[in-house]
Amino acid sequence: MMSEWQKVCEVEDIPRLGSRVVRRAQGDVAVFRNAADEVFALEDRCPHKGGPLSQGIVYGRHVTCPLHSWKICLDDGNASAPDEGRAERYTVKVEGGVVFMQS
């Protein structure tokens, strides 16, 4: 199956150092925007107890889960040591201020 780029939103729709929830039939995705306006997308489920990562505090290239403060790396979805686990990562790109996600 060919993967396709799908438009998500404008970069400006995501607050800087914040995120938005993207609702999909297959489950929610959290799209994050850091201070440098880079955009990341992760499955909206913390590998610990399923907390919604979209609701966490974003800093640097990390987000802290709102339920029990696990730190998840936005680049690859990995939990910071000593915690172990990974949230699914999705490929995103920004073109002309618009965020696209690979489906």
Partner: protein
Amino acid sequence: MKRMKLVMVGNGMAGVRTLEELLKLAPDLYDITVFGAEPHPNYNRILLSPVLAGEMSVKDIMLNDLDWYRDHNLKLHLNRKVVKIDRRGRKVIAEDGTEEEYDRLLLATGSNPLMLPVPGGDLNGVLSYRDIHDTDAMIEASKRGKHAVVIGGGLLGLEAANGLKLRGMNVTVVHLMDWLMERQLDRTAAKMLQRSLEQKGLQFLLGKQTSEIVGGGPGDENAGRVKSVRFKDGSEIIADLVVMAIGIRPNTALAESAGLYCRKGIVVNDTMQTYDPKIYAVGECVAHRGMSYGLVAPLFDMAKVCANHLALFGIGRYTGSVTSTKLKVTGIDLFSAGDFSGGPDTEEIVLHDAMGGVYKKLVVKDDKIVGGVLYGDTTDGAWYFQMLRDQQSIGEIRDHILFGETNLGNSGHQGQNKAAAMAETMEVCGCNGVCKGTIVKAITEKGLFSLDEVRKHTKASSSCGSCTGLVEQILASTVGGAYQASDSKTKPVCGCTDYTHEEVRKAIRTQKLLSIPAVMHFLEWHTPNGCATCRPALNYYLISTWPHEAEDDPQSRFINERAHANIQKDGTFSVVPRMWGGITTPAELRRIADVAEKYAVPMVKVTGGQRIDLLGIKKEDLPNVWRDLDMPSGHAYGKSIRTVKTCVGSEFCRFGTQNSTQMGIDLEKMLFNMWSPHKVKLAVSGCPRNCAESGIKDVGVIGVDSGWEIYVAGNGGIKTEVAQFLCKVATHDEVLEYSGAFLQLYREEARYLDRTVHWVQRVGMDYVRQHVVDDAVNRRALYERLLYALAGIKDPWQERVAQSDKRREFEPIVLEALDA
């Protein structure tokens, strides 16, 4: 850019910790080479005692395996002793001729055991107790001989004696002084210790001076081996093994040979630099302000400072350490810190139960703890030590300080407050389900030394924190003297900065900083935009210091305060509308019922704060729920005013002396929208029967016939704390003014996430009374600042109902399904 070369001489705990800290700060700055005289990588020297006692193996105490050195690209020369530093040529030379050039040199050569200069000191079977080699030799010797003599009744000597006894030897401890551990214990505690060690089968010869170690003569089957120990008084005892544990001396030979200034150690300044600016030194080998340290905790403090300067950050000074001691002999609880013997200008607070085997002594000067000894019950050692380090005044608690931190309502761990008495399988942390054995295992296997590290690895005490004391005890008894409670006065806000909460607040106030980036820029934050710990704190400090001026950054608030509702475990939220003073109406109740049905709310619950909680609401429904409720936000989600609980009061109650409901409503309306360092709860009772439970609230008001009593700094949560009497006032307006002034002082001075009780414990009730009760002008000013801060703030729910741009937070982006 070409990397600089860093060479470290000495591969022990202080040096390697410095490298670890350095690699965290500047992983790519140096090419690093390490020389170690021993054949082992870095191991935990403190745990040699358990190894000797047969409780652990050498493998258990390794801190950094060879892979660690490889993974960090460190060049490691084991078994190679450096014998020369060529300062002009900037290189070091080892015994075997290995040379390494350096741009920076780090000396961590540790210390050498002192040996008694008596005849026979070089006989076979005379050992020191310093490293793995010594320990192995002692274990070997214990298999061959029967009688061991340990010379030196200090910490190390007693641990050696205990270990040899457990290895089946007949052990006598010889000590020059009249009592054991005279550098850590007073006579009373030392005698108690001696009695319990005697019960374990150790023998003691005190006040004995060794004059000679006697070996077997020529032709004897033990020729050249130790046979006995002879004393100055002419007496003599049999010995198959002699261990000298009379002290250590900083190993300065290499530094001295290179012409570096040494005086009782390699002399360093507050940045751990020697007299040669290219050469740094850390650990037991240094003399800092005339002091040398043999315990691990100060060495780690040095490591941190040294790494910071090696990383070219140039922040941080080492200013010396107050140390505490704990003896690692299983079954013996002993703790000592600071000046435990006192002098003419100190007082002592003592509890001594000789039969029960408990002795506690605190040495106090000007109402502050300067030292102490605990024997038999060391539960509160960490607490006393914290107060010692913080220089906290104990004036108000001295009548019960020896009974310990608290006997009240510390929940979540089966009422246990003595870690030693707990079985391995007992649960310590009731929040995260961590038992004692798991914590001990993590500490020993992962080489943990601080509370933060234990929290990170095991999660124990990382949630509500009520078991912190227990975890500290387990840590202290596992690593012994290596454990040092953190000094809360100098503790930085988080890893992103070296500044304390107080320093950050001061900068915000004096520099008039108005945004988080401005604070981070001014205080040179190490991280680009902080972390989940510092950003909420900074945001609070900004808006509380500069109300109506500073920027309130929603992205730096925890989700509950950003969404104005409480996140639940499944990602839904709960909504608690405000009911002023716990009073509601049929119309409000109808609207709540309608909302519950319309949004299919899974649970409707009456809260402890006299209102109603709607649980399980989807985030996107929140604005509509608020619109339909048409009630003010209850702020049940914030570090903010929560509720004012009331009793029925004089309007209906036959006992009521005052109109407590109206007072509650007025207080709650006054404080509406108040953000604070942590949550704030109030209560008003209409008579001393106190049905609103004012005794466990941040501010509790109790009506009496002649006016109102105000109590502050109570807490009904994690640890029950009874509120303390602040003052009695006559009028309704005075209740508002005094309560408001107290809360404003708390808002301005407490650290973020301090409840009122934590803050008052630190500053003392006297301080609070001075500022709120005695000084009327100041009280008025505080009260007015509070009213100014709260003036004109809009209800956050109504704001989000009315303004569509503020609703974006709540709206998911819906992707249309792609065509198949």
